[in-house]
């Protein structure tokens, strides 16, 4: 549960998703998804594999295009603009990039840049995208790297790190852009079990500071403890979206109950 400072009531939700549809060719992956993520909120997305969780997350920063519906990030339509005749067109790369720069993303497979050290990975965004002076970016990066507990690995290349260390470095890299929200795409799914905790700890402390987070996860304990709301997805639809007490206590949907029985047993 985040102890974020109370948000003024008139501020619109940071992320608004309305009737989102997404297909890969003939395969419909998202079939009309609508929800809001409020500022400072932590939302966990759970559900069976192939239910569209990761695709949904990737639509939020437009790593995936979507066919209909809309995503508003901070009241700005993501990825498209309407031309004078009202037809929807792909937005300019510049506008898409501006949105992506404000949305941190953490991947299942870390995706650190292997030809750069931890420090170089973390300053890459601020220096290249924001044009921050290198010294300034380095100072900020050192603080972030300390925060994720990797100070002794500053000059290490990613392949020399454990999975947990790599993922913590990847979190620092995303945070270096000072994002308005963080997207986590199954951040612990490719970690050895004993390394999961160190990554979840970092995420939990982020949540406690009031970071807006959308987390696709199989870690039910994390969803229950940290999330403000939990979204259960199946077959491209939201089955249930409710506080963790309801999802894990008395789920309304039999599909939620069935899914949880299978993963928790």
């Amino acid at each position: 549960m985040s102890d974020a400072p109370p948000v003024p009531p008139l501020m619109p939700p940071l992320i608004q998703v309305r009737g989102l549809h997404k297909s890969f060719g003939k395969l419909e992956v998202l079939r009309g998804v609508s929800f809001d993520v409020k500022r400072g909120e932590v939302m966990a997305i759970i559900g069976p594999s192939g239910s569209g969780k990761s695709t949904l997350l990737r639509c939020l920063n437009f790593l995936e295009e979507y066919q209909s519906g809309e995503i508003l990030f901070d009241n700005v339509l993501v990825g498209y603009r309407n031309d004078p005749s009202g037809r929807r067109r792909l937005d300019s790369e510049r506008n898409v990039r501006r949105i992506r720069a404000r949305l941190g993303m953490v991947f299942q497979s870390f995706n650190l840049f292997p030809h750069k050290t931890v420090l170089e990975n973390v300053i890459e965004g601020p220096v290249v995208v924001k044009g921050q002076p290198r010294a300034e970016a380095e100072a900020a990066a050192r603080a972030l790297i300390a925060r994720v507990g990797l100070t002794d690995k500053l000059d290490t290349y990613p392949t020399k790190l454990s999975g947990g260390q790599q993922q913590r470095a990847a979190i620092a890299r995303a945070l270096a852009m000072q994002p308005a929200a963080m997207l986590f795409d199954e951040p612990t799914s490719s970690l050895d079990p004993e390394l999961v905790g160190e990554v979840l700890e970092v995420m939990q402390s982020l949540a406690a500071e009031g970071m807006t987070m959308v987390v696709v996860t199989h870690e039910m304990g994390f969803a229950r403890r940290v999330a403000d709301r939990v979204m259960m997805m199946d077959e491209g639809e939201i089955v249930e979206l409710a506080p963790p007490e309801q999802i894990f206590g008395k789920p309304e949907s039999p599909r939620t109950a069935e899914f949880l029985r299978r993963v928790l047993h």
Partner: protein, 221 residues
């Protein structure tokens, strides 16, 4: 077999070989430059998402790979002037011809190198807000280049040997000079042997360097 090798003769004509080497190196340099620049462009076009870019690049690569370079050279030197009124000197025509030919292969090296980089890398670059150019320059190409070095050195060696085809356009490169020398001295065995050795000496350092680089990168990763 009773053959008397006459190496002294080769030494007496060393100037001829030296002249040939100069032209061969120059041909190699210009052809390489054309091949690299055009090859990178074609390679990027081929890995593009846009059909209008992918398609012409694919046609170019296929045409130049599917036809003999000898015909390409002759065509550029003799047919272009007729069709376009564009008459190039023989050295320029040979450089351009070999460069255009090499570009097709170099494009494939670039494309394969770029394709070999995990999609997660460009996802990560994009998610930081990088544009296509930034992601290519800072993230994708630096990794791809390491994988491209062995096939690239291969192509470089091929290209340098292909410059001998300049002789059909009467370019005074190493082989052409050597053949003139043979016509004057009737010592083909010595002359061809020396030509082979000289090419080996010019090409081998690059092969050696490529192997060293590979080992170093393997260690640091």
């Amino acid at each position: 077999m009773n053959y008397t090798w006459q190496w002294q003769l080769i030494w007496d004509f060393r100037q001829v070989f030296w002249r040939g080497i100069e032209v061969t190196v120059m041909l190699t340099w210009w052809a390489l430059l054309i091949g690299l620049v055009l090859g990178l462009l074609l390679g990027l076009m081929r890995s593009s998402r846009l059909k209008v870019l992918r398609w012409p690049a694919a046609v170019y690569v296929d045409i130049f790979r599917a036809t003999p370079i000898l015909v390409q050279l002759v065509w550029i030197y003799y047919a272009l002037p007729i069709l376009l009124g564009l008459q190039m000197g023989n050295i320029v025509a040979a450089s351009v011809g070999i460069g255009l030919h090499a570009a097709a292969y170099i494009a494939e090296i670039f494309r394969a190198g770029i394709d070999s980089i995990d999609r997660g890398q460009s996802d990560a670059a994009k998610s930081l807000g990088m544009g296509y150019g930034q992601a290519m320059r800072r993230i994708i190409l630096p990794q791809a280049v390491r994988r491209m070095v062995p096939p690239f050195i291969n192509e470089f060696a091929t290209l340098m040997k292909l410059t001998t085809l300049g002789s059909v356009l009467a370019v005074n490169e190493l082989l052409h000079e050597a053949e003139n020398l043979i016509n004057n001295t009737y010592r083909p065995l010595e002359v061809y042997t020396v030509v082979a050795v000289l090419f080996g000496l010019m090409i081998y350092p690059f092969i050696w360097l490529s192997q060293r680089l590979e080992q170093r990168w393997k260690k640091s990763r």
